[in-house]
């Protein structure tokens, strides 16, 4: 493992890749700070810019953007009470009150330190966990892989906004879309309406661009421009007053990182849920719980560390099992597939050098975001003031040219357009888009492994339930559907965007938060 990591750093520590990481981190922070730009949307728009890069450069850029975007959203949440992304919404509860009390400098220092600690802990856990997980998953046959895909779908259905049934329906919609084109076993055309252009299936990257970026344009127009002002706010960093305060900060950073990792390793969960749970835990653990909602520093440190820890942790199921841990990691999967790399158990056999380089890039990206955060907060805060009208016009052009570049044909553009319009209508209808992407990822995995299992067993359905691992995965899948349902019925407090947190009611979330951004 250590040799692999040293090899990864050896690859990445060249001026070329370091520039890519620095630029990616800056783009990520700027995009994250811009209200209306979700992390997944930013990644989807940027994928086409990486077409001509080598795999390491492409993934290093996107991983840096992912890392930076998670921090950027917290700047606007603290200074403007306008979170750039849903996972930063919880930062407004205490970050904005701190800024109003003249403690913006301290809040920004706490956020950048929490981000660094959370990000590094998440990356270390990723490095430590993904190799054994992938090794274990290598022993999986078609029955276990089928069970794994079923587990992935069941988990996402239970954890998204809009309720269990709508989440599962969205996942089924994504699964169904992957059935368009030639079937993987016999090559039979399905749902192509006689068009040869659809024989290869629905192109994945244009679909992501449409779902996460183009649909945001319509949402931005529908929400109308909200004027925000940045005035009389100090952005000078302030360190903790003494060792005791630094120790307290560190304690809540580690709590946040732990919560973030625990949540994000469950496929389909993501940063928004992690940051909300972390906030809830911090409020229960802190001696200053009465200050929560009025400017408690723990109220921003813990969710920020959780948020950043999810970046690495969400990659554990993606790299080890081929199941994305969040919408953003699903978009990253698109970047992997563009370079002919299939995330999953075989990745350490076939592309170990690229994966270790990605880990090294993540570590460096955390330090790059830390450095940029210290030096560039005033600049990134100004980014939030870019009028939305220019932003949305730019997104339209980038979506179309990016989709076209994916296949250099108009089918890709029409795909992005169709998914953009459908994505907008679904969002307005309270249907989360993240399960659709998971369906798009897991559909082929489900079908291929089911049919392989059937061929191997000569058509015996019992083959699917004979393995203990498969049974365990089915059980976990069932539990992940039933537990949130039962808890919701009993009105138990699950910290979830759609459910109430324990304790006194939280302050209201500001308007204009994009959905499915994690």
């Amino acid at each position: 493992m250590l040799d692999g990591l040293i090899g990864g750093f050896h690859h990445i520590l060249s001026l070329h890749y370091l520039w890519i990481i620095l630029i990616g981190s800056a783009i990520g922070i700027a995009a994250g700070a811009t209200p209306g730009m979700s992390t997944a949307g930013t990644l989807a728009i940027l994928i086409p810019f990486t077409f001509t890069m080598d795999a390491i450069g492409s993934l290093a850029l996107l991983a840096s953007v992912y890392t930076g975007a998670q921090y950027g959203g917290s700047i606007s949440a603290t200074l403007l009470n306008t979170p750039g992304a849903p996972e930063s919404a919880v930062i407004t509860f205490d970050g904005y009150p701190l800024a109003q009390q003249g403690k913006a400098g301290k809040a920004l220092t706490a956020l950048i330190l929490a981000g660094l600690v959370g990000g590094l802990v998440g990356t270390i856990v990723l490095i430590g966990a993904v190799v054994p997980l992938a090794k274990e998953a290598l022993r999986f046959g078609p029955a276990e892989m089928f069970a794994l895909a079923v587990f992935g779908i069941s988990v996402v259905g239970g954890l998204v906004q809009g309720g269990l049934l709508r989440g599962l329906a969205a996942a089924a919609l994504g699964l169904l879309v992957t059935m368009i084109g030639q079937d993987p076993v016999s090559g039979t055309a399905r749902f192509t309406l006689g068009s040869t252009s659809l024989l290869g299936g629905v192109p994945f990257v244009p679909a992501l661009i449409g779902l996460f970026a183009l649909s945001e344009v319509f949402s931005l127009v529908a929400r109308r421009d909200q004027h925000v002002e940045l005035k009389n706010v100090t952005t000078k960093h302030e360190w903790p007053a003494d060792r005791a305060e630094l120790g307290m900060w560190l304690k809540f950073m580690l709590i946040g990182a732990g919560v973030g990792i625990f949540v994000a390793v469950h496929p389909g969960s993501g940063a928004t849920i992690a940051s909300l749970i972390a906030y809830s835990v911090a409020r229960q653990v802190s001696k200053n719980h009465k200050l929560f909602g009025k400017g408690a520093i723990e109220g921003i440190i813990t969710p920020e560390a959780a948020d950043k820890a999810t970046v690495g942790a969400a990659m554990i199921p993606m790299l080890g099992l081929g199941i994305p841990g969040s919408a953003s990691s699903a978009v990253l999967m698109g970047a992997f597939t563009l370079h002919g790399i299939e995330p999953g158990p075989m990745i350490f056999k076939n592309h170990a050098d690229i994966v270790w380089s990605l880990f090294a890039a993540l570590v460096i990206a955390n330090f790059a975001v830390f450095a940029l955060g210290f030096g560039g907060v005033p600049l990134f805060a100004r980014v939030t003031l870019i009028p939305r009208k220019y932003l949305l016009a730019a997104i339209i052009a980038l979506c179309f040219v990016g989709a076209y570049a994916n296949g250099t044909n108009m089918i890709s553009v029409y795909t992005a357009l169709a998914f953009g319009i459908v994505g907008f209508l679904l969002r307005r209808g309270g249907v989360s888009l993240a399960p659709i992407v998971l369906g798009l990822v897991l559909g082929p995995l489900l079908e291929t492994n089911l049919r392989q299992a059937m061929i191997i067993s000569g058509g015996s359905w019992l083959y699917l339930v004979q393995s203990p691992i498969a049974l365990l995965l089915y059980g976990l899948g069932l539990a992940s559907i039933l537990v949130p349902y039962v808890m919701q019925r009993r009105k138990m407090a699950i910290p979830h965007p759609a459910m109430p947190l324990p304790g006194p009611p939280l302050p209201p979330l500001p308007e204009g938060i994009p959905e499915d951004g994690e």
Binding site: P48, G163, R166, L173, L176, A397, L425, G429, G430, L450
Partner: protein, 152 residues
């Protein structure tokens, strides 16, 4: 029960998902299964299951899920409808007019829809955005963007 209020926008979306599932469920019966291997469930089986799952979940959500009432949603105003029409027109125009002209026109109209300010700001942004994306994709990334009858 007041049917007009019960059938909210959110329910209409879930109902549309149910109808989509039903259409594809019906279409699975037309998929040719003559070339399947021994033991294989055939190319129509899995899509049929997914379509049935979509119908089941959307159908149950229609009646069992608590929906937000239309009064609590931003209305779809003229600007949103115009923007939807604009992107459809953009996709239609791109192969006919080429990337440069269609993008410039789309940027101008998009900013007019959202009241982008003085004409020179709109023009400068449209030129900058078109030229910038064209340069990055056509020159730097060497991707051949659609050309119009005038050669660009």
């Amino acid at each position: 029960m007041n049917n007009a209020r019960w059938f909210t926008y959110e329910r209409a979306v879930v109902f549309a998902m149910f109808v989509f599932g039903a259409l594809l469920f019906a279409a699975t019966f037309r998929i040719d299964t003559s070339t399947t291997a021994a033991g294989d469930v055939g190319p129509g089986f899995v899509p049929r299951i997914f379509a049935a799952l979509l119908m089941l979940c959307a159908g149950l959500a229609l009646f069992l899920t608590k929906m937000t009432s239309d009064e609590n949603k931003h209305p779809i105003d003229f600007a949103t409808v115009a923007m939807l029409a604009l992107v459809i027109a953009y996709a239609t125009a791109m192969p006919l007019l080429g990337y440069v002209v269609s993008t410039f026109l789309t940027m101008v109209v998009a900013l007019l829809i959202v009241r982008g300010g003085e004409w020179w700001r709109i023009g400068a942004f449209a030129v900058g955005m078109t030229a910038g994306t064209w340069f990055v994709f056509s020159k730097l990334l060497q991707i051949g963007l659609p050309l119009g009858p005038w050669g660009f």
